[in-house]
Symmetry: C2
Subunit: 303 residues, 2 copies
């Protein structure tokens, strides 16, 4: 099946392009980007031109930041093509609801991806937790914004989600592995005096689960989830890629390079089945934290 | 059918109690409140005691503020009773999702009410807009917080929603009357330097609709929605209670006293049908405004 990639930035070149090159299902036929391109692939600057020129491209994958993504997504669905969205699937919940309803009305596939759910330890963690009772849990998601988002002011601006840009990956894993739905009970948001979005957050969730999200981590980076049950303790490390039960390694490895191939494999199956997958649970928890959380002004931040 | 009312404050005494007294469907059998009571009705201080003592009470209506409401709602559903919620139905979206799923799993009715949707002009406005094309719209919702919420610090604290506490009434009407779903495109939130929640907000919605919400109005209060279509202009005044088309009065009146009787009538029908009604569209727009809106510090506010 022919596919086009829109938004040729770091994540597209690092993950999407290699995943598509190795895929038995997909042929990367075109790209759309202001400046980026992929050697050997037709390059467009404008999505509407591409859609009109290539009716044989049946699916479009969007790697744009959340704010400009909606207009492109509407163009894709209006042109009758299947749609795959990077995380988070939009800048707001209400716009993703619109996309979901548009796709359903036309019988098109829409896939709101959460790449961390494809990490190597996640499926085994979900299976192990099924039937066990959660006693408490702890998310520790601490990374260096200067390393991963150098100079990207938009991420700390209104709509940029701040520390929830990485933190939503943890929430996407949590909501995939817990046997029962989780809800937000409280949140504290640390917002730099010169920015709009939080640079750190502490969440209190139901089932005794807390989250410590921080974008100011220096030195070793931490992406861990620890869940204590009535029958043992589970730890997911390295963004869901390493699973340990009661301190014994179970599955996984350091590499995150299988996450995007798994997403494109799932997209191919959804298209063939005429199905969609839009699970907004991680985004609802973030919206709840913004709505009900207590803001604390912290030191101004400069990249 | 026997019903209990939990949270005997101003809204319960002004609206819920008279509506129940006049209802052909409901018998107000008990109240639960720290200090409030209703003459001639059994009064409890604790919801669990009331639920255990009166298995014949089949439905519970909660008039508590959003934050303490969730624990009471869980107690009601665990006790196998039908549940009616004042607006907004919770402090967060994720907790309302939990309630909705709990009620569905037990075959119980849950009704997340939006009293402004029962205002006298709303149904006629929806019918008139059906089939017409929206060109633009304007919500103007300006009221005096000191008049309606004297000394209620919680409303400007984290989780209190600020000006969205009244503004969500406008959004509940808008989402009920528009032929197509609306989504948030941008928001500016004015937050007093000594408070957590916005005291004023300006929203940009799709379909060319804007909203001007302000809690600092003095003098005349304004609760108006104006929708310009390709075939005439609709104005709802007085919180949805007066409908004008092209400046001619169509229906309605000043009184809001029919809103709560209509809610209890609908609750009775839902219980008899074994159905539920949980439409979170107004709350999603508020969560979107908190998540993606730009905050502006404004003068400190004291009641």
């Amino acid at each position: 099946m022919k596919i086009a990639l829109v938004g040729i930035g770091k994540i597209a070149l690092d993950q999407h392009v290699p995943a598509l090159a190795a895929s038995p299902d997909w042929d990367l036929t075109a790209t759309v980007s202001r400046s980026g391109q992929v050697p050997g692939v037709l390059a467009f600057h404008d999505i509407d031109t591409m859609l009109a020129a290539h009716p044989e491209i049946c699916a479009i994958s969007l790697c744009l930041p959340p704010v400009p993504r909606f207009a492109a997504a509407v163009a894709v669905l209006r042109a009758g093509r299947h749609l795959m969205l990077e995380k988070p699937p939009g800048a707001t919940l209400s716009e993703v609801h619109v996309l979901r309803d548009m796709a359903a009305a036309q019988g098109l596939t829409i896939f709101a991806t959460w790449h961390s759910r494809m990490a190597q330890g996640v499926a085994a963690a979900r299976d192990w937790l099924a039937g066990r009772t959660i006693r408490e849990g702890r998310i520790t998601w601490r990374e260096d914004i200067r390393k991963w988002h150098p100079g990207q002011d938009w991420i700390l601006d209104a709509g940029g989600m701040g520390v929830f840009d990485p933190g939503i990956n943890a929430l996407s894993i949590l909501t995939a592995i817990l046997p029962e739905p989780v809800h937000l009970q409280g949140a504290d948001l640390d917002v730099p005096a010169n920015r709009q979005a939080p640079i750190a957050a502490r969440l209190q969730l139901s089932q005794g689960i807390t989250a410590d999200l921080d974008f100011r981590q220096q030195g070793p980076q931490t992406w861990d989830i620890r869940i204590v049950t009535d029958d043992g303790t589970l730890v997911l490390r390295n963004g869901g890629n390493i699973l340990q039960i009661d301190d014994r390694p179970v599955t996984g490895g350091d590499s995150i390079m299988q996450e995007y191939p798994a997403l494109y494999d799932r997209m191919a199956r959804l298209v063939r089945q005429g199905a969609s997958d839009v699970d907004l649970a991680p985004m609802v928890l973030v919206a709840d934290a913004f709505t009900s959380g207590r803001r604390h002004a912290v030191d101004p931040f400069e990249f």
